[in-house]
């Protein structure tokens, strides 16, 4: 089980801020594939990965990143701090 978090418009499209997901995905990209296959709202949120950023255990990373040992994966649009 892994905690999956969504922020900003990704959160709005998926409809929840976080959920627990049971997965054997080896990488973030594999997890995205599993989510996309679930429901239309996921397919919509993940339709363009270039518009998304990902963090594994609160560190920014990329979609090739391994999920082994990870407790938390977060998906969100490019950040707009400051």
């Amino acid at each position: 089980m892994i905690d999956v978090l969504y922020f900003a418009w990704v959160r709005e499209r998926i409809g929840v801020p976080r959920e627990q997901v049971s997965t054997d995905a080896a990488t973030v990209a594999e997890l995205v594939e599993e989510l996309r296959a679930r429901e239309e709202r996921y397919a919509l949120a993940f339709s363009d990965l270039k518009a998304l950023r990902v963090a594994v255990d609160q560190d920014l990373t990329d979609f090739d990143a391994p999920l082994k040992g990870a407790r938390e994966v977060a998906f969100f649009p490019p950040m707009t701090g400051g």
Partner: protein, 147 residues
């Protein structure tokens, strides 16, 4: 180093004074303050900042630690708000203290450049015609190539 992520407003003047007073062995203090622009030509009602609790503090600490490694700094302060804000309200501030002005200026610009596109904050604007997420700007991403 002090990293503060909070919903409530901060007092720029009080923070600047406390920061400057804490390291009087530094000759140069730079502050940057970001404000929700209250622009008559842009009828913004409210800006709401969403963030990623936990990762936010972690990302800001990482950026500030990197700034301290790159420049000779006496101290670094980062305050960033989240939640709803009205036009004219202050969103965030950074402050840097250094012996020399070049270090203080460059470190403050570095903090701002990284904070813009590497700290997990997202801005949503509410105007008369509805709500919309602020899109990241290419120029903010490009600014990172400078460092």
């Amino acid at each position: 180093m002090r990293i503060i992520v909070q919903e409530q407003p901060f007092d720029l003047g009080a923070e600047a004074n406390a920061f400057a007073a804490s390291r009087t062995d530094m000759g140069a203090v730079v502050t940057f303050t970001g404000v929700v622009r209250d622009d008559p030509s842009r009828p913004l009602r409210q800006m709401t900042i969403e963030h990623y609790p936990g990762m936010t503090e972690r990302a800001l600490e990482k950026i500030a630690t990197e700034a301290q490694a790159r420049w000779s700094l006496g101290d670094v302060l980062v305050i960033h708000r989240f939640g709803p804000m009205r036009p004219g309200e202050q969103i965030m501030m950074v402050a840097t203290a250094a012996r020399h002005r070049k270090d203080a200026f460059e470190a403050a610009e570095y903090l701002m450049d990284y904070l813009k596109s590497r700290a997990p904050f997202w801005k949503k604007e509410l105007a008369a015609d509805g709500e919309s997420w602020v899109a990241a700007k290419d120029e903010d991403e490009d600014a990172l190539t400078r460092w």
